[in-house]
């Protein structure tokens, strides 16, 4: 997939150059007389427990709605193509890439972002563990990593299967290899992976104790 990412980056640059050239000299037939006005639709979502009503261009992604319209800039845009996980948020209890979802598809949904997990004064246990274990360097991927990590532990608890599971009928356990496999959708260019795995192991350990296992 790496080459696909590289190629598509090149494609993006080439594409925008081509778009600029087009704007400078529009071929007559490719230019409609008047661009139609963008379609605007109302959408209501519950974000971090608060209901938010928006009027959005239907092409707005959930990620752009969060960052540009609601100014919840904790959620990051890395690739905008589902390749990096920086935009991970938790929707109705499941993690998704908010860059690949249109906001208008989320009418009535409950969205949890990094801002809703904890605050600087009252960190979520996963946030505290990331701090303790140095689970980041530049921090750009971190909100996505933390949202994903919280959801991963929940997926393991719910018994969602994974690629590294030997026996599909067994319940998955929060082992290092399970957590690493499940976190593969979150890329960290700084390479903080081993510390992220340690932070998760700490929280998973505490959770397992809590469950009396």
């Amino acid at each position: 997939m790496m080459s696909e990412i590289e190629m598509s980056r090149r494609g993006v640059l080439a594409g925008s150059a081509a778009a600029a050239a087009l704007a400078a000299a529009p071929p007559a037939e490719a230019q409609p007389a008047k661009a139609p006005a963008p379609a605007i639709m109302p959408v209501s979502l519950t974000i971090n427990g608060k209901r938010r009503d928006l009027n959005l261009d239907t092409r707005t992604t959930l990620l752009d709605a969060l960052r540009e319209h609601l100014k919840l800039t904790g959620t990051k845009k890395g690739c905008d193509h589902g390749q990096c996980g920086a935009c991970t948020v938790i929707v109705n209890g499941e993690r998704i890439n908010s860059c690949l979802s249109l906001a208008v598809q989320h009418q009535g949904d409950e969205v949890k972002t990094i801002e809703g997990l904890g605050t600087p004064d009252k960190l979520h246990p996963m946030q505290a563990a990331f701090v303790r274990h140095d689970g980041y360097q530049c921090g750009y991927c971190t909100p996505g990593q933390i949202c994903s990590a919280v959801a991963v532990l929940d997926e393991i608890k719910r018994g969602v299967p994974s690629h590294v599971q030997a026996d599909l009928s067994a319940r998955p356990q929060p082992t290092d290899i399970e957590m690493r496999e499940r976190m593969s959708g979150n890329i960290c260019r700084c390479g903080a992976y081993s510390n992220i795995a340690e932070a998760m192991a700490e929280v998973a350990g505490a959770t397992v104790k809590e469950m009396g296992a």
Partner: protein, 280 residues
């Protein structure tokens, strides 16, 4: 769409159609609604027990976040394409019919070794459909005029031929409603995916296999052709071992210099699944 490779005038949101259930069929199989997510399908206890190859293929694909959102129909309909498809500066018969193919003579390490044409050598990228091919699933649809049909998965995706812009045989306006699986096959279920990194990468080669106690079985290959690749005559020699199977399955292969390695790799991947089946 973000790269303006596709510029649809309208998008129809189908997510609230009630097609998100997995139900038993009257002949002992399962009907999977088109909107069942990849995560829900992989986690279903019936699928894990009776169609393990399908769970294994799904969890080998994409990432946890993507699988939570991906649907049965949407995953089947991933575009068959290659990296040049995304680069509007390069010729691509799939993006722009008649413009040529940058991959032929270009960078083709990941691309097709069989079933390709002089117009296109892209590979179908999905994992789930490779397992559905080995299970002989049926794709149920409804057309714009309200009539419905069931398409065998073998005939669902197309080879590029002279019309590489068509990935599958759906008609315009035809909606997938479900995918049905026939009665369970028994045996041991395997999905071996060989890729450039251990997780979150498309297959160089993948094998979906169901192996029976007596050594017979069936296998479909991913990452090698414009559609999931299975040759029933090759399945027939499964008891003779992996090399015999791939000799038949890849008999008419036309690899490029960059990707000829995929054929021995397919043999080794199948050999690994057969060995796994024996030790299970």
């Amino acid at each position: 769409m973000k790269l303006e490779i596709e510029t649809p005038r309208h998008l129809v949101d189908v997510q609230d159609l009630k097609l998100d259930r997995i139900e038993p069929t009257t002949d002992g199989g399962l009907r999977i609604g088109a909107l069942v997510t990849n995560t829900a399908l992989a986690a279903d206890t019936r699928v894990r027990r009776d169609y393990g190859v399908l769970t294994r293929a799904i969890v080998a694909g994409a990432s946890g976040q993507l699988r939570n959102k991906a649907t049965t129909a949407g995953n089947l309909l991933q575009r068959t394409r290659c990296p040049y498809f995304y680069d509007p500066n390069m010729p691509c018969n799939k993006r722009k019919p008649g413009s040529g193919c940058a991959a032929i003579g270009g960078y083709s390490r990941q691309l097709a070794v069989i079933g390709s044409s002089d117009q296109c050598i892209a590979t179908y990228p999905g994992d789930m459909a490779v397992a559905m091919r080995v299970l002989d699933a049926m794709v149920e649809t409804v057309k714009a005029d309200g009539t419905s049909r069931a398409i065998p998965i073998a005939d669902f995706h197309r080879l590029p031929g002279e019309k590489p812009h068509l990935d599958n045989n759906l008609e315009a306006g035809e909606l997938i409603t479900a995918v049905t699986l026939p009665r369970p096959l028994g045996g041991t279920h395997h999905y071996e995916k060989v890729r450039d990194r251990a997780s979150y990468a498309f297959a160089l080669v993948s094998v979906a296999a169901v192996i029976q106690k007596d050594g017979s079985g069936r296998a479909a290959f991913g990452g090698v052709a414009h559609k999931p690749w299975r040759v029933e005559a090759a399945d027939a020699v499964m008891t003779q071992g992996a090399a015999a199977v791939t000799a038949r399955a890849f008999a008419n292969a036309r690899p490029t210099e960059n990707n000829a390695f995929k054929i021995p790799l397919a043999t080794r991947a199948l050999a690994a699944t057969i060995a796994e089946g024996k030790s299970a």
